[in-house]
């Protein structure tokens, strides 16, 4: 039975890693397109998302089967719970890559605004966060997960500053309302991408250390109020 269980877990890991590789590739294309204003890179990006969606369903089914058949406990249970959550995060990252590429297309004539608003820098940090969080989950690397977590605040800060920047631009020049609106959404998408990277890292910490650290800052803040 233990051998059978180990085999099921290995199959699950393989599928999760394949899905993670696909998501990583999609994000790489979307971010490169954003950073270099290169619309060629994102051609066909949507078609690839169907493969990610198929892995999402496959992994959900595998997790359901493992829970029903083997009823894992302790770290085995935490692993399956983490995989369910990470799978959802990866699937959302895949969708965000598509949405980013859409916004890049619509704002390609205003690439200077991306540079001025610091969205290029923000996209680089978020992209690295996703990469680090995926690598940390694959290699069970807590240091890397913590490194990824520590970057989230700087992404949030750039997002807030970018919002103020775009509002000012729109007030200054109403002809920029449409591109700036797209860019506000784009900034928000990059911020969400960083959030998903954070969730992946939090799930690794939950699996390895049995610690729930999600919402930690918010809860601490409320306790202190």
């Amino acid at each position: 039975m233990q051998e059978h269980y180990t085999q099921e877990i290995e199959d699950l890991k393989t599928n999760l890693f394949k899905m993670a590789a696909l998501v990583d590739e999609q994000i790489e294309r979307a971010m490169k397109s954003l950073q270099e204003n290169d619309l060629e890179i994102i051609k066909g990006i949507k078609a690839k998302d169907h493969e990610i969606d198929a892995y999402d369903n496959l992994i959900k089914t595998q997790c359901e089967n493992i829970l029903a058949i083997f009823q894992p406990v302790a770290s085995d249970l935490r692993y399956i719970m983490s995989v369910i959550m990470v799978n959802a995060n990866l699937e959302r990252c895949g969708d965000i890559a598509i949405n980013i590429s859409r916004r890049v297309k619509r704002t390609s004539e205003h690439h200077n605004l991306l540079i001025e608003s610091n969205l290029i820098e923000m996209s680089k940090i978020a992209r690295q966060m996703v990469k680090d969080s995926i690598d940390s989950f694959i290699n069970l690397d807590l240091d890397l997960a913590n490194k990824s977590l520590s970057e989230d605040e700087s992404v949030d800060e750039i997002n807030r500053a970018a919002f103020r920047f775009f509002i000012a631009k729109m007030q200054e020049n109403p002809s920029l309302i449409e591109p700036c609106s797209h860019l506000i959404v784009l900034s928000r998408l990059i911020e969400r991408l960083a959030d998903h990277a954070t969730h992946i890292s939090e799930n690794l910490i939950f699996y390895v250390e049995a610690k729930l650290i999600a919402h930690r800052k918010k809860l601490e803040k409320r306790e202190n109020e």
Binding site: M1, Q2, Y5, F70, Q71, P72, V73, A74, S75, D76, L77, R78, A210
Partner: protein
């Protein structure tokens, strides 16, 4: 916490040489369910047999101390002790020549309670507590052996309850039963802990996690870990515990 059983430095032996329990220290809280888990031969059945001095019956000896409700176990008459600390075994064992009524009344009669008028309300109460009354109330004169395996086990639980014990020891009480009967026994354990303290030995990890408040893991005579059941099955402290409950050995 109010502990009904306090075990200190307990060592148990068979034939004076075979050291089967090694320096066990456990406090069992009142009105809670304590599950004892561990692979075959780890000493879990020996441990609960020590709690009602059944270990001596099979030729075992112990040193260390066991207190039940503040009384030193070794100073209590074994028959009186077993009235306070009842036991339910793996295989249902109703007395084969007795009716359902007499099976439940057997322990009471042994303790000097006589007369159907006195016995009947206690028998009914015990059968109700064992969730068996509605199924047998019209057939109390029939043999206990006519019941299904699950009903027989609940009859044995009723027999144990009739003498109003403080503690009920259960040695794999559902391992010989089908899933539905097992579920009834588990529901019963949940109900009974309002009035009794239960110590249950089980090989079924899911059962231990479902029914108990605390779990103790034994391995080759040692108490490896004891903790809140939810902690034990989500994040045990000891690697050996984790490997055992995850099915990696045992």
């Amino acid at each position: 916490m109010d502990n009904i059983i306090s075990v200190k430095n307990l060592n148990a032996y068979y034939n004076k040489k075979n050291h089967v329990l090694k320096n066990i220290n456990i406090d069992i809280p009142r009105n809670k369910v304590m599950a004892i888990i561990g692979p075959s031969g780890c000493g879990k059945s020996t441990f609960i047999r020590c709690l009602n001095r059944m270990h001596e019956v099979v030729g075992g000896t112990i040193d260390g101390s066991i207190e039940v409700d503040g009384q030193d176990l070794m100073k209590v008459d074994p028959v009186l002790l077993r009235k306070q600390v009842g036991m339910v075994f793996q295989k249902p064992n109703p007395f084969p020549t007795m009716s359902i009524f007499n099976n439940v009344a057997a322990g009471l009669r042994l303790n000097g309670v006589r007369g159907k008028k006195t016995l009947a309300p206690i028998v009914e109460k015990s059968l109700r507590q064992a969730a068996l009354w509605d199924e047998v109330k019209d057939n109390l004169d029939k043999s206990g052996m006519d019941l299904s395996g699950g009903q027989q086990q609940r009859l044995c639980i009723a027999r144990t309850l009739a003498v109003n014990p403080k503690v009920i020891l259960m040695d794999e009480p559902a391992s010989a039963l089908d899933p539905l009967s097992t579920s009834k026994i588990e529901d019963l354990i949940f109900e009974l802990k309002n009035e009794y303290t239960i110590v249950i030995v089980t090989h079924n990890m899911q059962q231990a996690s479902r029914v108990s408040d605390f779990t103790a893991f034994f391995y080759v005579g040692d108490l490896v870990e004891i903790s809140d059941t939810r902690k034990m099955f989500t994040s045990p402290d000891n690697k050996k515990t984790e490997d055992y409950i995850s099915g990696r050995f045992g």
